[in-house]
Amino acid sequence: MIELREVTMRYPVRGGHRTVLNRITFRIERGEKIGFLGKNGAGKSTLVRLIGGGEAPTSGTIIRGMSVSWPIAFGGAFQGQLTGLDNLKFICRVYGKSIEDKIPFVEDFAELGRYFREPVGTYSSGMQARLAFAISMAVEFDCYLIDEVMTVGDRRFSEKCREELMVKRADRSLIAVSHHEDQIRNTCTHLGVLVQGVLHRFDNLDEGYDFYHRHASE
């Protein structure tokens, strides 16, 4: 279970503050799959970051009753001079996991061949995305966060990722942000729609999308 109680997030802007999230109270149960909708700048990524714990809210409480991943397949933390293996080692050290038994899985899943031991700076963007996804799967979590990246590599590889996340880990919770309606409909069972800093929960996807389209311009 993850619970948000009266969570508010304000950012300083020129001449004052902007309230991105306004007293959000929300609960995510174990195994629930929730998609967050909202127009650009509505605060979806901020919300994901708060749930992941990368940032603290201005006020309010976030209770994490289960382990939460970092945003899946997030490659921004890769540094050009580090190899794929270095990046895996870093993640394993941070999360206190043994490195040795993760190497075969990541090496195999990312399909990088000898590039796994070459600096990430020499990778194509597709290779980086594959590595990022494979490393995300190296540490097990109860709840996975997905921020806008579900198209990793070609169709075949996307299918492989889907299998790994949605089938093998079907019992886990999922929090996804995406502008692609079909992706959300394929993966999520509930919706959270962000309108003007307030999060509206829908247990029915059609109702949620209907609400979202009606308020998209606000």
Binding site: G43, T46, M66, A77, F90, I91
Partner: protein, 276 residues
């Protein structure tokens, strides 16, 4: 493959015990240090050996230049090598810290996506790396210079260590304080570079307190760095000059800076520019 095993250590952060938090922090700092060693110096050629070699070359160069000039500050007896080595090591031990800390967040902001990685960890990893590298360089050069006869070995290594630790704490204080402010306001970093040289020059690195007039000396002793530097030199060649220092003053100053720095670090938000 360990697919369906649940991670037990990854439970609710708010219920983490103090000991558990400490263990996680050590783990994270270690991971960051391993990472920084590669990202700072690459993995080709000397790789992260540069972290030791760089200060060694600088110290050796300055010692050589001063030897050519042939004048020593504190009297004919004091080896120029010992004087330059202690002075320059002290100088970089404190002046490298704010720069290292000031750019820590900018270079690593994406790592804050991992809940266990905090701004303080980014600072500490860089500080520990710097202190280790510069200490290693000082020790290696001391052994090397003593061995080839450039200088006599330190007469009181424990006293030298005492002064060195005091300087290191001052460096941590400066790293926390200036580094955290420079993270928020970039111009602080630009100002720091010229200032650090001026301060380092007059406040310890290039002078023995003995050689300045009393009135001027009493002013200089307000600079914390002087005390650690004098104590270090007391340990190296204290029989050749009259040292002036009070380490407790430097410690009080340093802990004050560390405290203020910690308050600043708490307010650093890595994402203010990148939110959506």
């Amino acid at each position: 493959m360990t697919l369906h095993t649940r991670s037990s250590a990854e439970t609710n952060k708010t219920t983490c015990s103090l000991w558990e938090s400490f263990r996680i922090q050590c783990r994270v700092i270690w991971a960051l240090m391993m990472r920084e060693m590669i990202t700072m110096f690459g993995r080709h050629g000397l790789g992260f050996a540069w972290i030791f070699v760089m200060p060694m070359i600088l110290t050796a160069g300055i010692t050589f230049a001063w030897s050519l000039r042939g004048v020593s500050e504190g009297g004919a007896d004091i080896s120029i090598a010992a004087f330059a080595l202690t002075g320059y090591s002290t100088l970089i031990l404190y002046r490298n810290m704010p720069g290292a800390c000031g750019s820590a967040v900018k270079m690593n902001v994406s790592l804050l996506y991992h809940r266990h990685v905090r701004v303080l960890d980014l600072f500490l990893a860089r500080i520990i790396l710097q202190i280790s590298a510069i200490t290693f360089s000082l020790v290696t050069l001391t052994i090397l210079f003593s061995w080839i006869g450039f200088m006599s070995p330190p007469i009181d290594p424990l006293k030298a260590l005492n002064g060195w630790i005091a300087t290191a704490f001052f460096g941590i204080g400066m790293g926390f304080f200036i580094g955290s402010i420079a993270t928020k306001y970039e111009w602080v970093d630009h100002l720091w570079h010229p200032f650090s040289y001026i301060l380092g020059g007059i406040a310890g690195a290039a002078l023995l307190m003995e050689s300045v007039p009393t009135k001027f000396r009493n002013m200089l002793l307000w600079f914390p760095l002087v005390h650690g530097s004098e104590c270090l030199r007391d340990g190296y060649f204290g029989n050749k000059f009259t040292p002036y220092y009070d380490l407790s003053y430097e410690y009080i100053f340093s802990f004050g800076l560390i405290f203020l720095g910690l308050l600043q670090i708490k307010t650093i938000k890595g994402y203010t520019e990148t939110y959506h």
